[in-house]
C-alpha cells in the first residue's frame, strides 16, 4: 500500500501519459515511434485500471486482470505492427509515415 499518494496523482500521470501518447501518435513521423506512442496510451490505461482497482475497489481484482490482458495483447499488437512495418520498409525503403499515402481521396 503506497502511503500518502492520493488517487488523483496517479490519474493525472496516466492522463498526461495518455495525451502524450496521442500527440506522439499524431506528430511523430516514424512508424516505430508511433508504435511506442501507442504503448504509452495502453500503459496509461493500465495505470488507470490498476489504480482504480487498488484505491476504489480494493476487494476485487478485475482491474488488475484487465491490465494484465492489455499488456499481453499490446505485445501481440506490437509484434504484428512491427512485422507490417518491416513489410512497409521492403516496399518503400523507409518507415516515414508520410510516405505511406499511396491511396488517398
Amino acid at each position: 500500500m503506497i502511503q500518502g499518494i492520493p488517487l488523483e496523482h496517479f490519474l493525472v500521470v496516466s492522463t498526461i501519459m495518455f495525451f502524450i501518447g496521442v500527440c506522439g501518435f499524431i506528430i511523430r513521423r516514424n512508424l516505430i515511434t508511433m508504435l511506442m506512442a501507442i504503448e504509452l496510451i495502453l500503459n496509461s490505461v493500465n495505470i488507470n485500471f490498476v489504480v482504480f482497482n487498488r484505491y476504489l475497489y480494493p476487494d476485487q481484482l478485475q482491474g488488475q486482470f484487465f491490465s494484465l490482458f492489455i499488456v499481453g495483447i499490446a505485445a501481440a499488437e506490437a509484434s504484428v505492427a512491427i512485422a507490417l512495418i518491416i513489410n512497409i520498409y521492403r516496399n518503400v525503403k523507409n518507415i516515414e509515415v508520410e510516405n505511406v499515402n499511396e491511396m488517398k481521396f
Binding site: 496510451i41 495502453l42 482504480f52 501481440a76 512497409i88 499511396e102
Partner: protein
C-alpha cells in the same frame, strides 16, 4: 461447472478446432498439392457452418462473462454463413500461383478473427469483449497486407494496425473510466450502476469512438477507404461485411443493455453521427472510380443507416439491425463477389473498366445490378426491407426528420449505384471485359447471395424469427 456446459460456446470451439485442423493439415501436406488445402478448408468450414445451425441450449458461462442467447447464436450463424460465402469467393483467388504458399494462412487468420468476433458477440463483460475485439482486429491487419509484395496491400496493413491500435487504446481508456466509475467490468453490474456523470460520459464517448472505428462511423472512418482499396478483394469483403456486422451488433447490444440508463445522453450523439456518416459516406462515394473504394464509402453510408436502428431503441430497433446485417451480408457479398470474379478474370477493378460489361457478361451484370439495387434499397429486393425496417424503427421513436434525411441520402446513394449500372449497361466500349466463366465455388457463392437477396424480403418468417429472439434477448 462441468465440461458439458462448454456446449454453450460450441461455435467458438468448433472454429478453433477447424483452425487448428487446417494448421495441422498444412503441416502434413506436401508443397505440390497445397491447393488441396482449399477444398479441405471449404468442406471443413461448410461442415462447421452447418453444425452451427443445429439448435442447442443457451445460457451463461464463467459467471456471466460469456453469454449465449438465441440472438447471439443466430448472429454467429450469420457470420459463419458470411465467412463461408467469402471463402467460396476466395477460392479462385487462392488458387493463383502467387498465393500458393499462403493458403493456410488465409484460412487460419480469417478463422481466428472469426473466433474473436464470436467471443465479442457473446461477451458478457468488457474483458472478453476487448479480447474478442482485438482477436478480431489484429489478424485482419495481417490479412490486409496479404499481398505482401504489393505496396498498397502493405500500406493497408499498416494503416489498419496502427489506427486500430490507437482506437483500441482510446476505447480502453474509456473502459478504464467506466470501470473507475462503476467498479465492475460486467455488463450486468455496470448496467445497474451507470448514471449520467462526467466520468461515465467521457468513458462512454471514448467507447463509442473506439467502436465507431470498427463500424467506420464518421469521423472515425478514414482508414476504411484506404484499407478496403489496398487489401485483397476477399479480405475487403470480409472486412466490410463480417467484421463490421459483428461490431455493429455488439455495439447495439452494449448500448441497449449496458448504457440504457443514459439513453437520453447518447441519442443526440448517435443522431449526429448517423447524419454525418450517411452524408459523408455518400459524398465521398459519388466520385470514386475504384470499385473497392467505391464500395468502401457506400458501406460507410450503410453504417450510417444502421445507426437509425440504434436510435429506434428497443426490440424493433434490435430486430431491424440484425435483419439489416443479415440482408447486408447477402447484398454486399453479392456485389463484392462480382467484383472479385471480374478481378480474378481480368484484373479490372475500376468502374470505368466495367463499361459495356453487359454485352459480354449479362449474368454477372444482372447480379451486380440486383446487388446494387438492394444496397440502394429498391423493392422488392431484400435491401428495401432492411432499410424500411430501420426507418420504421427510427420513426417509431419519432425521428421523422432524421428518416427524411436518411431517405434523401438513400436517393443520393441511388445516384452513384446507378452510375455503376450505367457503366455496365449503357456506356459504349470497344473492348469490354472479355466473356469469362468464373469458378464453380464462386458461382455457388453468388447463387447463395442472390437467393438470399431475392428471398429474404418476401420470406417474412426471417424477420419474425429475429424479432422473437431479440424480444427474448432484451427482456
Amino acid at each position: 461447472m462441468d465440461l458439458g456446459q462448454f456446449i454453450l460456446m460450441r461455435h467458438e470451439l468448433l472454429l478453433t478446432v477447424a483452425a487448428l485442423a487446417i494448421l495441422v493439415a498444412e503441416i502434413f501436406t506436401s508443397e505440390k498439392n497445397k491447393s488441396k488445402l482449399i477444398n479441405f478448408a471449404l468442406v471443413l468450414f461448410a461442415l462447421v457452418t452447418f453444425i452451427g445451425f443445429i439448435p442447442g441450449e443457451t445460457g451463461n458461462l464463467f459467471g456471466g462473462s460469456f453469454q449465449s442467447s438465441q440472438l447471439t447464436v443466430f448472429m454467429k450463424n450469420v457470420l459463419n454463413l458470411a465467412v463461408l460465402i467469402v471463402f467460396l469467393q476466395a477460392e479462385g483467388w487462392l488458387r493463383k500461383p502467387e498465393n500458393a504458399d499462403k493458403i493456410s494462412e488465409y484460412f487460419i487468420l480469417t478463422l481466428s478473427t472469426l473466433i474473436g468476433m464470436n467471443f465479442m458477440v457473446s461477451a458478457g463483460d468488457f474483458l472478453i469483449f476487448y479480447i474478442g475485439l482485438e482477436t478480431a482486429t489484429i489478424p485482419i491487419a495481417g490479412l490486409a497486407a496479404f499481398d505482401k509484395y504489393k505496396s498498397e496491400s502493405a500500406e493497408a496493413g499498416i494503416k489498419l494496425i496502427l489506427s486500430s491500435a490507437l482506437s483500441s487504446g482510446i476505447l480502453l481508456f474509456g473502459l478504464s473510466m467506466i470501470y473507475g466509475a462503476t467498479g465492475s467490468i460486467y455488463f450486468a453490474d455496470i448496467a445497474t450502476k451507470v448514471a449520467p456523470n462526467a466520468l461515465i460520459a467521457l468513458g462512454f464517448v471514448f467507447f463509442v469512438s473506439g467502436m465507431g472505428f470498427k463500424i467506420s462511423l464518421v469521423p472515425f472512418h478514414f482508414w476504411t477507404a484506404d484499407v478496403y482499396e489496398g487489401a485483397p478483394i476477399n479480405v475487403t469483403s470480409y472486412l466490410s461485411v463480417v467484421s463490421k456486422g459483428a461490431a455493429a451488433f455488439i455495439f447495439t447490444i452494449v448500448l441497449f443493455t449496458v448504457f440504457k440508463n443514459i439513453v437520453e445522453l447518447w441519442k443526440p450523439m448517435i443522431y449526429t453521427l448517423a447524419i454525418a456518416t450517411m452524408t459523408i459516406g455518400n459524398l465521398f462515394a459519388m466520385r470514386q472510380n475504384n470499385i473497392k473504394r467505391f464500395l468502401a464509402f457506400s458501406s460507410i453510408a450503410q453504417a450510417g443507416f444502421i445507426l437509425l436502428g440504434i436510435l429506434g431503441a428497443g426490440e424493433l430497433g434490435m430486430t431491424a439491425i440484425v435483419y439489416f446485417v443479415l440482408v447486408y451480408v447477402f447484398t454486399n457479398l453479392g456485389a463484392f463477389g462480382v467484383v472479385a470474379a471480374i478481378h480474378n478474370a481480368s484484373g479490372v477493378e475500376t468502374i470505368s473498366g466495367y463499361n459495356g460489361l453487359y454485352q459480354t457478361n449479362p449474368k454477372l451484370s444482372w447480379l451486380m445490378t440486383i446487388s446494387l439495387f438492394s444496397l440502394a434499397g429498391i423493392p422488392p429486393i431484400a435491401g428495401f426491407f432492411g432499410k424500411f425496417f430501420l426507418f420504421t424503427a427510427a420513426a417509431g421513436s419519432g425521428y421523422y426528420i432524421l428518416v427524411l434525411i436518411a431517405v434523401l441520402n438513400a436517393t443520393i446513394s441511388l445516384y452513384y449505384y446507378l452510375l455503376v449500372i450505367k457503366a455496365i449497361f449503357i456506356e459504349k466500349n470497344e473492348q469490354p471485359i472479355p466473356e469469362f466463366r468464373s469458378s464453380n465455388s464462386m458461382r455457388i457463392a453468388l447463387v447463395m447471395c442472390i437467393t438470399g437477396v431475392l428471398v429474404t424480403g418476401f420470406a417474412s418468417g426471417v424477420f419474425e424469427y429475429i424479432r422473437s429472439i431479440s424480444k427474448l434477448f432484451l427482456n
